[in-house]
C-alpha cells in the first residue's frame, strides 16, 4: 500500500517536472529569440513619439542614448526614476524631452511627454497614457483633438505668468471643454511643473552624465 503510494507520487511528480522543464525551455528560447526585435520595436515606437514633440531639425544625436537621470521624488514629482532625453545639435543641447506624470487626473495618472527647447519654450506636449473617460476627458489625446497642440506649442514661463497657468475656469488662459475640467487642469498643472523643473535644473540636466535606461 505504502509502496504503491510512493510509486504513484514519484511518477506523478516526474511527469509534472517533465512538463515544467519543457515549458520553461520553450519560454526561455522564445524570450531570447524575441528580445532583440522587442527592444528594436520599442525603440522605434519611442522615437516615433519623440518625433511628434521634437522637430527633427532640433537634433542630430542619438536621442535615446542620451538620457540624464531624474531621481524619484524630486521637484518634478515623479514617483519612479525617469530619464530626461537631451536633443543636441553639434554637441550643444537644443532641447530636452521629459516624461511627466499628472497624478490628479479624473481617473488615475496621466502620463505626458514634454519637449522643452533650450530657451525654455515648449516644443510640444503629448499624452502617453491616460484613463480619462472616453468621449469626455480624452480630448487631451492628440488622436481625439488638437487641444494639446493648440494650447501648449510655443508656451513658456516667460510668455505666461504663474497665474496664467490654469484653465480659463480657474482664471488662467488655457482652454477646456465643459463637462471635463479636472482632466485639462491636471495636464496644465503637470506641464507647468515640468517647465519650472526645467528652468530650475537646466544646467544640471544639460551636464549630467549619460544614464542607462531605467528598466
Amino acid at each position: 500500500m505504502t509502496d504503491s503510494l510512493i510509486k504513484h507520487t514519484a511518477s506523478t511528480t516526474a511527469v509534472m517536472i517533465g512538463f515544467t522543464i519543457v515549458g520553461t525551455l520553450l519560454l526561455a528560447s522564445t524570450f531570447f529569440a524575441t528580445r532583440t526585435p522587442i527592444a528594436a520595436s520599442e525603440r522605434a515606437a519611442k522615437l516615433k513619439l519623440f518625433e511628434q514633440v521634437l522637430p527633427a531639425s532640433l537634433h542630430d544625436n542619438d536621442l535615446l542614448n542620451d538620457g540624464a537621470k531624474i531621481t524619484a521624488g524630486g521637484d518634478l514629482g515623479n514617483r519612479d526614476e525617469t530619464l530626461a532625453y537631451r536633443a543636441k545639435l553639434a554637441g550643444q543641447v537644443s532641447a530636452v524631452v521629459l516624461e511627466a506624470t499628472a497624478p490628479d487626473g479624473y481617473s488615475g495618472d496621466i502620463k505626458l511627454l514634454v519637449a522643452i527647447r533650450a530657451d525654455g519654450e515648449l516644443a510640444g506636449v503629448r499624452v502617453l497614457a491616460h484613463k480619462e473617460t472616453p468621449g469626455l476627458g480624452d480630448y487631451i489625446d492628440i488622436g481625439r483633438s488638437d487641444w494639446i497642440k493648440k494650447n501648449f506649442d510655443g508656451q513658456s514661463l516667460a510668455k505666461t505668468s504663474d497665474e496664467g497657468w490654469h484653465v480659463k475656469k480657474d482664471g488662467g488662459q488655457f482652454d477646456y471643454m465643459a463637462g471635463a475640467t479636472i482632466t485639462p487642469r491636471a495636464v496644465v498643472k503637470a506641464v507647468h511643473k515640468a517647465l519650472k523643473y526645467f528652468s530650475e535644473h537646466r544646467e544640471e540636466i544639460f551636464s549630467a552624465p549619460v544614464a542607462k535606461e531605467a528598466t
Binding site: S41, A45, T133, G135
Partner: protein, 229 residues
C-alpha cells in the same frame, strides 16, 4: 468532409458558440469590444491559443495522470500565451500597445481550459485542433460583431484603428458610417457591452426559434445561464 468535422465546425461557430451560447470568456468579450479591430484581434489571438493548446494537449493526454491534469494544462496554455504575447510585442508593436494587458489574460479565459478539458483531453489531435480553432473563431466573430455595434453607435465609425494591425496604408479602410457624429458615450462604456451582448444573444435565440417554428418543431431551449466568467 466527415460528419464529425462538420459537427465540430457547427458547434464552434453557432450551436455551442462560446460568446453567445456558452457564455465563457465574457471578461474579454465585454472589455475589449469597443471597436471591430480590437475585438477581432483579441478574438484571433484567443483562437490561435485555443487551436494550439488543444493540439498540444491531445497527443499527450494519455501520459498525464488525472490528478495533475489541470496543472499541466494550465502550464501548457500559459506557455503558449506567453509565446504569442512575446511574438506580438516583437512584430506587432502598435497592436500590442492597445491589446497588451489583455493578451496575458487569455490564460485566465476559461473558454481555453474548458475546451482543453472537455474536448482535447478526450479526442484525437486533428479534431481537437479544429475544435479549438472553431470555438476561437466563433468567439472572434462575436467579439467583432459586438465591437462593430458599439463602434458604430458609440463613435460613428467602423474599422478605426485598423492601421494598428495592418500598417499605416490600411488607414483608408476606416469607414465613417455617420459623418459628423458626436458619439454616444454609453455604447463605448461598459454598459454598452452588456446591452450589445444581450441584443446578440436575443438575436441568436430569435433566429433559432424562427427556424424551429418553420420546421414545425418545438423551439429549442434557450441557453442556460449556468456558468459565466
Amino acid at each position: 468532409m466527415s460528419q464529425e468535422y462538420k459537427e465540430i465546425i457547427e458547434n464552434g461557430l453557432w450551436k455551442q458558440n462560446p460568446g453567445v451560447v456558452q457564455f465563457l470568456g465574457l471578461c474579454p468579450t465585454l472589455a475589449v469590444t469597443t471597436s471591430v479591430v480590437n475585438g477581432f484581434s483579441l478574438g484571433l489571438a484567443t483562437a490561435a491559443v485555443m487551436a494550439l493548446s488543444n493540439a498540444s494537449v491531445s497527443p499527450i493526454r494519455r501520459w498525464v495522470p488525472n490528478e495533475i491534469r489541470i496543472a499541466v494544462f494550465i502550464l501548457i496554455i500559459a506557455a503558449l500565451v506567453t509565446v504569442i504575447d512575446l511574438g506580438m510585442h516583437a512584430y506587432l508593436q502598435a497592436l500590442h500597445a492597445v491589446l497588451g494587458i489583455f493578451i496575458p489574460l487569455i490564460v485566465t479565459n476559461c473558454i481555453v481550459l474548458a475546451r482543453v478539458e472537455a474536448f482535447a483531453a478526450k479526442n484525437d489531435t486533428v479534431p481537437s485542433a479544429l475544435d479549438g480553432l472553431m470555438m476561437g473563431l466563433g468567439l472572434a466573430i462575436v467579439l467583432a460583431v459586438l465591437g462593430g455595434m458599439r463602434e458604430v453607435v458609440g463613435k460613428g465609425t467602423l474599422f478605426s484603428g485598423i492601421d494598428l494591425a495592418l500598417g499605416p496604408a490600411a488607414k483608408q479602410f476606416v469607414v465613417t458610417v455617420v459623418p459628423d457624429y458626436h458619439g454616444f458615450l454609453l455604447a463605448v462604456l461598459p454598459p454598452g457591452a452588456f446591452i450589445g451582448l444581450a441584443l446578440l444573444i436575443a438575436g441568436k435565440n430569435w433566429l433559432e426559434s424562427r427556424r424551429a417554428a418553420k420546421a414545425g418543431l418545438e423551439p429549442p431551449q434557450p441557453a442556460a445561464m449556468a456558468h459565466s466568467h
